[in-house]
Every structure is written in structure tokens, then in C-alpha cells.
Symmetry: C2
Subunit: 145 residues, 2 copies
Amino acid sequence: MLTRKTKYALRALACLARGPQEQWLSVAVIAAREQLPRKFLERILLDLNRSGFVTSRKGREGGYALAAPASAMNVADVVRRMDGPLAPVPCVSITAYRHCTDCGSEAACCIRPVMKRVRDAIADILEHTTIADLAGNPARNKKTK
Amino acid sequence: MLTRKTKYALRALACLARGPQEQWLSVAVIAAREQLPRKFLERILLDLNRSGFVTSRKGREGGYALAAPASAMNVADVVRRMDGPLAPVPCVSITAYRHCTDCGSEAACCIRPVMKRVRDAIADILEHTTIADLAGNPARNKKTK
DNA sequence: CTATTATCCCACTTGTCCGATAGGAGTATT
DNA sequence: AATACTCCTATCGGACAAGTGGGATAATAG
């Protein structure tokens, strides 16, 4: 299950992608447009900033903007940053591989092959879906700073 | 992420599918063979029994056996019982649809279409993978009671 | 009949994470 | 100087994951 944090993050990014190019959007505006809890969204945008998905401007008329073109930003990366690896078991993750502590031998594990296929299927979809796709606006690009 | 509960459940079912047809396997035996915590496995098998995946026999020489042919038991159903719906968001689940509390309009939701595709991809794989596949023994069938 | 061996079942613990809020410090604009 | 933003930390309740302990019940071997 996707956490709300991730859903809100995706909504906020889509909102930025749709928003007017000429100005920064404040947390308050995004929260109002997308109907999201203000304070929680603030925290999420902070994370998105640290992860490099958005840039910010302080003070009056400040706010957030996409750090890259929406069409160059895929959903998989956002989900991974917020929710962690896409893979259903850590030992089939490509970006965050970890040996399963409860599993003796990976070669002999009967669950691994199936979950590998699941991971690949999920990754294939989410990596080929961009924020621009979510925004329903493939042409929209980065805000020129 | 799959919970351990589900992973253990799948391992136990695969173990039963592989095990000798003529006898019931006790929790202790399964735990030893699959290297699983005994008590926890007991609890899991109880759930699997209630959900109808296995049958049990009390007393001496008792234990568990598959309630249906391993080749007729798919992974998706097991995961759903133990971990809940496969869908990344409740509003795209087919077996356990629920309206997302944080979402105003499903028709206008920008996240739903992508997640719908993810759900379908996961379901497609897990529904077409059986316990027999896990056990590496497609011919193995139900224990004749 | 009785001891043994199994499932059944409840309660409890410990830790982690989710979702969210409070409150204040820093900073840019009017 | 006042205002309106972002930034950052701390905290909190509730849920759930992963497991353990102890005992009731039932079936069979001897």
C-alpha cells in the first residue's frame, strides 16, 4: 500500500507541474488546491526539497517549484524516496538490495523468483510514468528560475 | 513489502506441497524444515486453516495438510488473506474496493489510473502462480484424506 | 484408561512506523 | 519594520508487525 505521504507528494508535484510557470506556489496554495492537510504537506515538501525534486524560495512571494521538467521526473523515483523500495522483498530490489534476514539461501528460495517478476512489473510501469503524465500535461516543463 | 507472516505462510504451504502424501506434517516438522520460528508458525497455520488453505488433525500423528491441490491454490489468494489487498491504493482493488478517504473525485484523481495498471500487473503474476509452482513440483496434488 | 502429542486459542510485549500537529527560527519582499 | 513565506525539530496517538507464553482441548498409542 502506498502511504499517504507518497500520494500527497505525487499530488503536490502534479499540482506544481500544472501550476502557472511564472510564480512559485506556496504550501498554503497547494494544500488548498489539492485538499491536503497544510502542516503535513509542509513536511512532505521539505522532504521533496531535500531529495531534489523541488526547489524553494523563502519569504514573500516565495514557495515551491519543480526542480526539473515534469516530463523528466518519474513516479518510481518519488515513490522510492518516500515509501522505500518498490520490491515486495528486499532481496529482489535493484536500487536497495538487502539480503533477507529470514532466508537461508537465495538460490534455493522458492519465493524470490516470483517476487522478482512482480518487482520488474511494478518498476516497468512506474519508471515509464512521469509527473507530466500525472498532471495530464505532457508538454509542461520546468519553471525557469 | 510482504510481511514475514505471508512469506512464512507461503513457505509452509510449499513445504506441505513437497512433503510426503501419506502423512500429516506437524508444526514442529515444518518449522524445522523451513527454519521458521515455531510458535509464530503455529499462529500462521491457524490462520491458514481458518481461511481454508489447509486442514488439520489433532492428537498424535496429527498435523497439517493442504486443503486443495497445490496446483489449484494460487499465491495471490494467500497474500490477500495474510497481507490484505494487492492494490497499492484501495480504490483500485477489485477484491477489496474501498473509496480513498483522502480523495475527492475518483474520476479526477491523477494517481488512480497508474495504480490501476500496477494492481493489474501484480494480480496477473500472482494469480497465475500456484503453490505447486513454488514447491517446484507442478504434479504434486492434494493429500487424499 | 492414561499419558502423550498434537492443534487450538487468547493475551501480552516490544518495537517501529504512519499521519499529523505545534511552535519557533530564519529569510526575503513590500 | 511588518509581513509572509520556508525551514526544522520535537512530539504524540494509534496501528500494526513479529513474536512469546501459557493453557484448554482433542485424538491416538500403548
